[in-house]
């Protein structure tokens, strides 16, 4: 009996315990908001950052403990004389003084001289006449880099500007021009006018010279004898190379992380994995030593450090909080200062303008800004990054956390959107949403997005953006729930009949020229291009597609395909022969201006998303004065669509961030993701001349090159940009249904009516779901 009682009690306790455990899992521990606040703070703190002192009362007057200590960026004024100069080098020289070298440029951006400045007591002192003293007397050269070798000598590398493009390394002499070092290493092969163009040159303690190539670094003795070579990650830029020398080692970036090589044997000592390092895109990663065997890695993500023998990288400076994370500034050099401070040198996009920043540890600053504003998008967008960096500079109390929903390969699945939807349904989710690729219309209809009409009323008063873009995204009731920060504009160039043929599906099918209207491409690109460029004709104002229209569209595409020899996929031999591609171009619009230039098609198409993308089309236009250039039906593709989550707990801050995105400060930057819609930014960009910017393309016996368009042409381009008024946002689900359904017809296995019927049924089902 007693046993039974004990068993019963135990059973009861177990049951009660299980119930309690299950139910407690669903509840929140204490005040939910408080808990969230602490979690945020912990996440925002930099891992392992020194000085993780917990203090109270620092967070907006609350008593919650806050981790203290953060590196703070301050801009160092540059020498007045160097205001218009280009950046050459920054390093600690012989007297442990910071030395800055800048290049003097003429109007055509050619380097005409070099200035040397020494940092003395918070000021710059110029070493006048330095370049005239050290430059070679027998050759006309253009400086590339100056550095202080570990052997205690100064060196500079330069390229000849006459009789070929050959690199030279000079050792600076105290009493005259520099001495040419290992010239044979850079000599061109027979028949060539250029030799090895090293990405970087360094000199070791024993005077050995390390020449960084694109994939290897080769070590030479001072007499020019080659010692050994060491593999490094591929580096395509001729301006920077990630790697540095110590007395005994060469440290560089390899595909799997950071590698240390012995300078005695050239053998690999170890590779330290660098989490998140992408060998293909991290060309800008700058490595330098800490003097104790540890390695620093500086990039747009910030400054990370690993101790000698360690494997864990510690993020010391969060790049997203300062200039390091800005997309319009390129990090050139990062140095360790005399104390526990750092210097970073940046060059503005296009090479104009440089910036020098100092990073010092401030123990009284919260480790992370107390307020976090989250921005969610499906890609790492440069405009958003730029806006986030500037926003944080303007609001030091705010950290803008950029959340990228795409996976590591940059792909977005339905699961990604489902995960976001789950958050949004729970009244959570990011404060600001970048709606490119997201079901923005559904979010708007369901009340997820905030009405931003007041924000844009203010923007239009203070810093206006294109009126027709705002109108295109204003609902009938005046509400504005999303707005593109940038746009891309498809253009067509060709003779009058070809351009007119692009005006309708019938005209397109009826075009009869000696060459096809559109150059050879895949069926999918043709289907996408025609659907996007004739969106209004096909879908009307209400976005519905009639079956008869679908038949007409398919027949037009088939006609185009038959004339230009389009296929579902080209073989390697065909790709080589036709000079085309199997990849799906954005909106199906391939840049075919060079095909028009070669007389292979009646017109050329191009999708302009910045002045740089207009260079080749403009070069083609210059060659063909008979040709015209127009936008296609006045359409444009909205990019960087911004919306604010209705459930945000900080609506004013989110709106402020939206204003930042549309501010001229962000809009004026050419970030390769579309033209700005801000009128002032357009004016600035239009006036912006980049005489040293040029683009070339070609193959075999064809080539074409162009330089930055002159003012008159830039004005015409912006006139064209300002003329577009029809936003096209093709529903990707519908587009996929069309592409899949049209395959049988284009391959000749079904009639246009059969294919259209099948596609129509699918689209009808899709539309019925939303009904």
């Amino acid at each position: 009996m007693k046993k039974k009682t004990i068993k019963s009690v135990m059973a009861m306790v177990t049951a009660a315990g299980l119930v309690a455990a299950m139910l407690s899992g669903c509840g929140s521990a204490g005040n939910g908001q408080e808990s969230d606040g602490m979690e945020n703070r912990k996440e925002d703190g930099l891992p392992g950052q020194k000085g993780d002192v917990l203090e109270t009362g620092k967070d907006g007057g609350s008593d919650r403990p806050v981790a203290m200590g953060r590196y703070v960026e301050t801009e160092i004024p540059l020498p007045e004389k160097a205001a218009q100069d280009g950046f050459v080098s920054l390093f600690y020289g012989r007297d442990d003084k910071l030395e800055l070298y800048t290049s003097i440029r003429d109007k055509a951006e050619n380097i005409t001289g070099v200035r040397r400045f020494l940092r003395e007591e918070e000021d710059w002192k110029e070493d006048e006449g330095w370049w005239d003293r050290v430059k070679p007397q027998d050759l006309s050269v253009e400086i590339r880099r100056v550095f202080y070798g570990l052997d205690g000598n100064y060196y500079f590398s330069a390229m000849t500007t006459e009789n070929g493009y050959i690199c030279h390394l000079y050792q600076v002499q105290d009493d005259g021009p520099g001495a040419d070092m290992i010239p044979e290493a850079f000599q061109p092969e027979k028949g060539r006018t250029y030799g090895l163009i090293p990405t970087k040159i360094e000199v070791g303690k024993d005077g050995n010279i390390l020449v960084h190539g694109f994939e290897t670094a080769v070590c030479y003795r001072p007499d020019g004898e080659k010692m050994f070579s060491m593999e490094k990650a591929w580096n395509g830029s001729s301006e920077s190379s990630t790697g540095y020398l110590t007395e005994e080692e060469f440290v560089t970036r390899v595909d799997s992380g950071v590698a240390r090589y012995s300078l005695k044997s050239g053998q690999l000592i170890e590779t330290i994995a660098y989490e998140g390092m992408d060998a293909e895109t991290d060309e800008g990663l700058i490595l330098f030593g800490d003097g104790d065997g540890g390695v620093f890695a500086a990039s747009e993500d910030g400054l990370a450090h690993v101790n000698e023998g360690g494997s864990l990288w510690e993020l010391l400076i969060d790049g997203s909080l300062n200039t390091m994370g800005m997309r319009n500034m390129y990090l050139q050099t990062f140095l360790k200062g005399e104390k526990e401070d750092y210097y970073g040198a940046f060059v503005a996009q296009g090479g104009k303008g440089m910036m020098l920043c100092h990073y010092a540890y401030d123990p009284d600053m919260a480790a992370a800004p107390p307020v976090t504003l989250t921005v969610y998008g499906l890609e790492d967008n440069s405009t958003v990054r730029q806006a986030a960096s500037l926003f944080q500079k303007n609001h030091p109390e705010v950290k803008v956390e950029l959340l990228n929903g795409a996976n590591q390969d940059g792909k977005v699945s339905e699961e990604t959107i489902r995960a976001l939807n789950t958050e949004l349904l729970g009244g959570q989710g990011a404060d600001v949403l970048i709606l490119d690729g997201l079901p923005a219309r559904a979010y708007q209809e369901k009340g997820i997005l905030m009405d931003l009409r007041e924000v844009f009323e203010r923007i239009q008063k203070e810093n206006p953006v294109m009126e027709q873009v705002v109108a295109g995204f204003t609902e009938k009731d005046g509400g504005i729930y999303q707005m593109p920060a940038r746009i891309s504009v498809p253009i067509i160039m060709g003779t009058e009949p070809a351009i007119r043929a692009m005006e309708s599906l019938d005209a397109m099918a009826g075009y009869e020229g000696d060459v096809p209207l559109i150059y050879t491409t895949t069926y999918e690109n043709l289907l996408r291009m025609v659907a996007n460029t004739h969106y209004k004709e096909m879908f009307g104002d209400d976005g519905t597609l009639a079956e008869e229209m679908l038949v007409k569209y398919l027949k037009s595409v088939k006609t185009l395909a038959e004339r230009n020899g389009a296929k579902s996929m080209f073989t390697e031999e065909e790709l080589e022969r036709f000079r085309t591609g199997n990849n799906v171009a954005p909106y199906g619009i391939r840049n075919t201006e060079t095909d028009f230039d070669q007389g292979r098609s009646g017109c050329g198409t191009s999708n302009l998303d910045g002045m740089y993308s207009a260079i080749i089309p403009e070069a083609v236009m210059e060659k063909h004065p008979e040709a015209q250039r127009e936008s296609i039906g006045g359409i444009y593709f909205p990019k960087v669509l911004v919306g604010v989550n209705m459930a945000t707990s900080q609506p004013e801050l989110a709106k402020e961030f939206v204003r930042q995105i549309f501010d001229t400060e962000v809009q004026k930057e050419e970030l390769y993701d579309g033209f700005p819609i801000g009128l002032e930014a357009q004016r600035i960009n239009c006036e912006n001349d980049r005489p040293n910017y040029s683009v070339s393309t070609g193959y075999e016996d064809y080539s074409i090159s162009g330089s930055w368009p002159v003012l008159e042409r830039r004005e015409k381009i912006y006139e064209l940009i300002r003329s577009v008024s029809v936003p096209v946002r093709m529903d990707e689900t519908v587009m996929k249904m069309i592409v899949d359904g049209a395959a049988d017809y284009l391959d000749g296995k079904a009639t246009a009516e059969q294919a259209a019927g099948a596609i129509y049924r699918q689209i009808a089902l899709y539309q019925a779901e939303q009904g």
Partner: protein, 289 residues
């Protein structure tokens, strides 16, 4: 009496953990689903019965419901019969019994993604099936088995292939519970094989039948995974099922429609269960007379 009451309390206490789990994770969410079916998408505005009208008239919902029902009515009887036949064959098989059993159960343990890959290799335009047919007919066969009119049959075959082994195991369990003496007696009385099945096996398997039907219906809802992996999120209209619709509604945040459709489906299932129960009740009553 006191003891009985105490035992009843004890049983409730033992059931409490699982019951509370069911309550927290199933009953409460379903109550929320019912609540949301009367609200707008974000659960802020009361919509009355508007959502029910909207979903009931929705063509996509009707198509998905029809297809789901069509699939159940086709695949489950087929599975029921084929698995029973196979189990009888395996039960009576001699040496190869284990091999048969294992090979039939094998599809159950293969991950759906791998299964679908194999099916795709077999059924795609340039797949093995078309090549074999081309070889036999002498003409090039380019039938798109997955995306054309044959999609429904492909899905049924996929479902049968995947689930037949499992159902066979259930039948085998039922068969092994039938005393061998009954068959011996029947044989003595001169009953043949078919007569033994009709008069002994089937009546003795009645309880197993209920279990097989219920588990087959439950498993049939999982066929969406194969349908999705085989033909994408917008497959041929004959295999467009309720989970397809729910998936798309969730992408566009149509939670109110999902909730309403879920309530309607539960009501339909309850109605079917009630009819089933009534029929069973009537039959038992008749027997007891």
């Amino acid at each position: 009496m006191k003891r009985k009451r105490r035992q009843a309390w004890l049983s409730v206490l033992f059931l409490a953990p699982s019951l509370s789990g069911v309550f927290v994770f199933m009953i409460l969410p379903f109550v929320d689903v019912v609540r949301r079916s009367f609200l707008d998408a974000m659960g802020k505005t009361f919509m009355g019965t508007d959502n029910y009208g909207l979903v009931w008239k929705n063509e996509a919902f009707r198509l998905a419901s029809r297809n789901t029902l069509h699939f159940l009515m086709t695949a489950i009887p087929l599975l029921f019969v084929l698995s029973l036949v196979l189990s009888l064959l395996v039960y009576r098989a001699g040496k190869g019994r284990r091999i048969f059993k294992t090979s039939l159960v094998l599809p159950m343990v293969i991950p759906a993604a791998a299964v679908v890959l194999v099916w795709k290799i077999f059924l795609c335009m340039d797949g093995i099936l078309n090549q074999v047919l081309s070889g036999i007919s002498g003409e090039i066969q380019n039938v798109d088995w997955v995306h054309g009119e044959t999609a429904f049959s492909v899905l049924v075959v996929t479902y049968l292939w995947k689930n037949i082994g499992y159902d066979m195991l259930l039948w085998l369990a039922g068969l092994s519970a039938i005393p061998e003496s009954l068959y011996d007696a029947a044989r003595v009385d001169g009953a043949g094989g078919l007569a033994q099945i009709w008069y002994i096996t089937l009546p003795c398997l009645q309880k197993t039948m209920g279990l097989v039907v219920i588990l087959s219906i439950v498993n049939s809802f999982r066929v969406y995974r194969e349908a999705y992996l085989l033909a994408g999120s917008y497959p041929d209209q004959t295999i467009y099922m309720i989970p397809h619709l729910f998936g798309h509604w969730f992408l566009t945040l149509d939670v109110q429609k999902m909730s309403t459709a879920a309530v309607l489906l539960v009501l339909a299932a309850l109605a079917a269960a009630a009819v089933f129960e009534l029929l069973l009740y009537g039959r038992n009553k008749e027997r007891s007379r």
